[in-house]
């Protein structure tokens, strides 16, 4: 009897901890929407910022976050895919595979601010790109590389062996094998990886705040060598003016827009992953 009681009490306690964890999401969403919604309007989304962000909208910031994220994805995707294919399709040496894997996981654990510091030294100073769109895009591309790569790698590795064996039995060259078996079968896994990477890039502030962005005066960059303005740094600057209620209100408005963007990417990633699972169960 006592053991039964302890059993249900423990279960209840464990349930409560889970509930607390999950209700965090509801709390956060309520807070972000509740604070951000009052500043949200069509004008806020489509007009440019004036008066150092105290007035006007966040059009340039949204555009900046989008182009920076997209260009990071465009640079990162082929590298991640090629690297994953190299590890699964070409490389036979277990030692080298292990080395590449360690490099990927190491990169995944590096604090993002360090990408900003060293990325500025390499791209900004050594290659002379300065504080610009291209510096930020390349830094973000390296930062999301492990995210995309690990996702793609797992998708390719989970292709059932008999698919591959059928290809080999037909005498397919490695390239034909990749094109007709590996890529189609891991399609949704690759999409998941790219979307997760984009979500990570879109939410990142530390790596780009002194390498790619200018707070005011930067509209939509006319060239790759110009700085951009982004939602993330816009929020950061406004948040530091905590005494001014107008600044904080606009920071929340931009925060809501950023959260919506990142969640749209995350939810699409989760959807793509569920498709992957469905396909593999067929």
């Amino acid at each position: 009897m006592r053991r039964r009681l302890v059993d249900s009490a423990t279960r209840g306690l464990l349930f409560l901890t889970t509930l607390a964890g999950c209700s965090l999401l509801a709390l956060i969403l309520t807070a972000v929407v509740g604070r951000g919604f009052p500043s949200m309007s069509i004008e806020f989304l489509t007009r440019e910022a004036r008066d150092f962000g105290l007035d006007g909208g966040i059009f340039h910031q949204i555009a900046g976050t989008l182009i920076l994220t997209a260009s990071a994805g465009i640079v990162s995707f082929p590298i991640a895919l090629g690297s994953a294919l190299f590890q699964t399709e070409f490389l036979k040496s277990a030692g080298l595979k292990q080395a590449l894997r360690i490099a990927t996981y190491t990169l995944n654990g590096v604090p993002t601010i360090l990408f900003g510091l060293t990325g500025y030294m390499f791209f900004g100073a050594l290659l002379g790109m300065g504080v610009s769109w291209v510096t930020g895009a390349l830094i973000l591309a390296v930062m999301i590389l492990p995210t995309v790569q690990i996702s793609v790698l797992e998708a390719i590795e989970s292709i059932p062996a008999h698919y591959r064996e059928s290809g080999m039995a037909l005498g397919l060259t490695p390239w034909a094998q990749i094109r007709s078996i590996v890529l189609p079968q891991s399609f949704y896994g690759i999409v998941t990886g790219v979307l997760l990477g984009l979500a990570r890039a879109a939410g990142e502030t530390a790596a780009i705040m002194f390498t790619a962005t200018a707070f005011s005066g930067a509209g939509i960059p006319r060239s790759l060598a110009r700085p951009v303005s982004t939602l993330q740094t816009h929020i950061l600057v406004l948040a530091q003016e905590a005494v001014n209620p107008k600044a904080v209100a606009n920071a929340w408005g931009a925060g809501l827009a950023l959260t919506a963007l990142v969640f749209a990417l995350m939810l699409s990633a989760l959807w793509a992953r569920s498709r992957l699972r469905l396909e593999s169960h067929r």
Partner: protein, 303 residues
Amino acid sequence: MSPSADPQANGPERNGRYFPGRGPAYWVCAGFACVALGAAGILLGYLVAESLPALRSQGWPFLLGKDWFVGENYGALPMIYGSVMATALALALALPFALGGAVFVAEFLPARARLIVKSIMELLAGVPGIVYGLLGMSFLAPWIKDAFGLIDGNSLLAAGALLGIMVLPTVMTLSEDALRSVPAEYRENALSLGLTQTEVVFSVAVPQALPGIAGAVFLGVGRAMGETIAVLLVIGGIDRIPSPWYDVFSPGQSIPSKLGREAAESLGYGLHWNALMGLGLVLLLMTMAVAFAGNLFLRRARP
């Protein structure tokens, strides 16, 4: 053109083993594979090379000094202390929920509900750091200020609590994976001995999954140590070790928040920059040590 047109593409057969061809596709993929290696190398190289002048001019006091005055001396101890303290607080606050949640999800929830909880955790982990910072600044810090009667809510405790929320999903998801990988026969054996379900969980599943859970916790620690922007907004930004040292209500500074605050001031020039890169090197070594320990445990977890 595709290398499949090349009759040699299949490569020679050596010792009866099949070797794939080394067409353009091979070399392109090989080049891309080296980008991660190269990036890791460049990162470490720059941090070491750029921090050398500061390490040389400051010597050991760089690590042990308590004062950071730009242009005079650079002591990293308050920042190291702040990073360690905020991370420790984050763990203390997050672990009960993360581990309890992991056990409940892995052992008691049906598959469908488990997928939902895991998706919620993934979304939580995806909330941008700057939004967490904004939440901490507007809600958490004022609450802490009122609850403990402080002059300023921005403190090590606020940073720790915010970090706890941020690493909870990471620790919970990975611990849950570790628990799920314990074979079902172990549980069935224990159940057949007449143990209740929670007794089975805590006497069989949790001990078996312990290395994996430890790995999850270490990876969470790494995440917490490296978080910049959320911490920057709530930690207070004072380079000082409080007295007594365990006074978590006083403001502090972590390594990433220091870097985030000052990097733009000296971008690329002078001893100040070298000292900041030195801080970055210390941070990298700390997170690498933690990640290494975590991977060691995780590898032991899956034989």
